[in-house]
């Protein structure tokens, strides 16, 4: 069996956080590799540094250390903004910008980093919304009027339409009902099936499509092997 090279590899990731006047090492040499098709679930106690790890992998954590590479290319050779278009983080508390749903979905294509990349047509946006069960949402609807579940799906769709290679999801189904959570799981499964890699922090639900489970505790990452019995 040929093992494919990882899309994203991280070695010796370290990060400290300052609390009550002391530096606390939240990540103490974390290694992880995500391959095409992977859906990796990340669990751990509150405050273990799960969000911190996602931020470090997306290069959104000033002061974090360690070695990152994307498809074999070191992070130092890729501008941070470009890196974030390929390793996309969806924060836990996603906020859409002021404006219509269509404006929000096209927003990534208005950024300088995607200059020259054509934004999806209105019919493509409509189709994408229908696919994730948002057929009752008009493209012209004010994004601030959407429910929590609708915002979560539109925000994930916005990230997916921008075609990253790796998706980092921070509790994407927190505060979602079962139907919305299932829609989110379906979207991530399709992304992985098309050759992407997913790392998702989970708290409440278990993703049935997960290919691996990791636990983060005391600054270290360990793989959780499912009990065969």
């Amino acid at each position: 069996m040929v093992v494919s090279a990882p899309l994203l590899s991280a070695t010796g990731i370290v990060a400290t956080r300052r609390a009550d006047g002391h530096d606390i090492r939240v990540l103490n040499g974390v290694d992880i590799a995500l391959r095409a098709g992977d859906i990796v679930e990340l669990r751990g106690p509150s405050g273990a540094g799960k969000t911190t790890l996602l931020l470090a992998l997306a290069r959104l954590l000033p002061g974090a250390g360690g070695i990152l590479a994307l498809e074999g290319e070191p992070a130092t050779a890729i501008a941070p903004e470009v890196w974030r278009t390929r390793v996309a983080l969806l924060p836990q508390r996603t906020v859409l910008s002021e404006g219509a749903v269509a404006y929000n979905l096209r927003l990534p294509f208005s950024l300088k980093v995607r200059e020259g990349v054509a934004a999806p047509e209105e019919c493509d946006l409509r189709e994408a919304l229908d696919d994730v069960g948002l057929d009752d949402i008009s493209l012209r609807r004010d994004a601030r009027q959407l429910s929590v579940g609708q915002v979560a799906r539109v925000a994930l769709l916005r990230v997916l339409l921008a075609r990253p290679r790796v998706l980092l999801l921070d509790e994407p189904d927190a505060s979602l009902d079962d139907a919305s959570a299932a829609a989110v799981a379906g979207m991530t499964a399709r992304f992985a099936a098309e050759g992407g890699a997913v790392l998702r922090v989970s708290h409440l639900r278990t993703d049935a499509a997960a290919t691996a489970n990791y636990r983060l505790a005391a600054g270290r990452l360990t793989e959780v092997i499912a009990d065969a019995s």
Partner: protein
């Protein structure tokens, strides 16, 4: 009335003006406002500071030395910069340079443009014109810049979650901050625009009032006031834009990540 047209105020009459504050202090005591002491201190400071200014200006106007004018302009700009930074408690450290530069460049340019091109003073440093005009320009642009900077950093903080989502999509520092930059510049310029719109209808501007009381022809005083108002507005606008553009980047790390409250100090 003296030849200059100014009705001089004698020292006893000047002391009498404090009587009005005394009435206010009595009202404050009667209503339990707790402002009597503050009023007394503020009144004493008004007497002392303005009389000291009068003596200093009398000496500066008589001396007519270019370096004294330059030193005074420098001191005025430093003090104005300190006040701006004090009024923007959320601003990141290290902004003194950009705030000072914004105020110094705009105020000096505008002041000397007015004195040299419009008033056409015989010598460029004529203190009787340069210092009062610089004071007005600095005072107004100081308020505008302080408002703009305060709004910039409070608006950025209120958008922390949106900024993180946009950064994760690949947005640059300018793309992340531009909405807050526009909001802050509007906040900094609205008082100036309102003052221009209301001048002459709602109130008679201070400089014109002073000139009319000093015996100047109202039409001549109006011309001065128009020039000063337009120049002050220009200085406020350009100064605010410069200060905001020079400082918004300081809230971001070198990798373009917004430094929210928990991670400030990390670059």
């Amino acid at each position: 009335m003296p030849a200059s047209g100014v009705v001089a105020i004698a020292w006893p009459q000047l002391a009498l003006a404090a009587g009005f504050i005394l009435v206010t202090a009595v009202l404050s005591l009667a209503l339990g406002l707790g402002l009597a002491k503050d009023l007394a201190v503020a009144s004493a400071r008004t007497y002392l500071q303005l009389l000291a200014l009068g003596f200093v200006l009398r000496w500066v106007f008589a001396a007519r030395l270019w370096w004294i004018v330059v030193v005074l302009l420098g001191i005025m700009t430093v003090v104005a910069t300190r006040i701006v930074l004090k009024r923007s408690p959320d601003a990141p450290p290290g902004l003194f340079g950009s705030a000072f530069l914004s105020m110094a460049l705009t105020s000096v340019t505008v002041t000397f443009a007015v004195t040299a091109l419009i008033v056409r003073v015989p010598v460029w440093y004529e203190p009787r014109y340069v210092i009062p005009i610089a004071g007005m320009v600095l005072g107004n642009s100081m308020t505008g810049i302080a408002l703009a900077l305060e709004r910039l950093f409070s608006d950025l903080d209120s958008r922390t979650e949106e900024i993180l989502a946009l950064t994760a999509l690949g947005a640059s520092r300018w793309e992340l901050a531009s909405a807050s930059v526009r909001t802050s510049l509007r906040a900094g310029l609205i008082p100036t625009i309102n003052a221009m719109a209301a001048a002459g209808i709602v109130f008679i501007p201070g400089m014109m009032t002073g000139q009319v009381l000093a015996g100047a022809d109202p039409l001549e005083a109006t011309k001065y006031q128009i020039v000063v108002m337009l120049m002050v507005s220009a200085a406020t606008a350009v100064g605010s834009i410069m200060a905001v553009m020079l400082s918004y980047r300081r809230r971001f790390s070198t990798d373009g990540v917004y430094l929210e409250k928990g991670i400030r100090g990390v670059r």
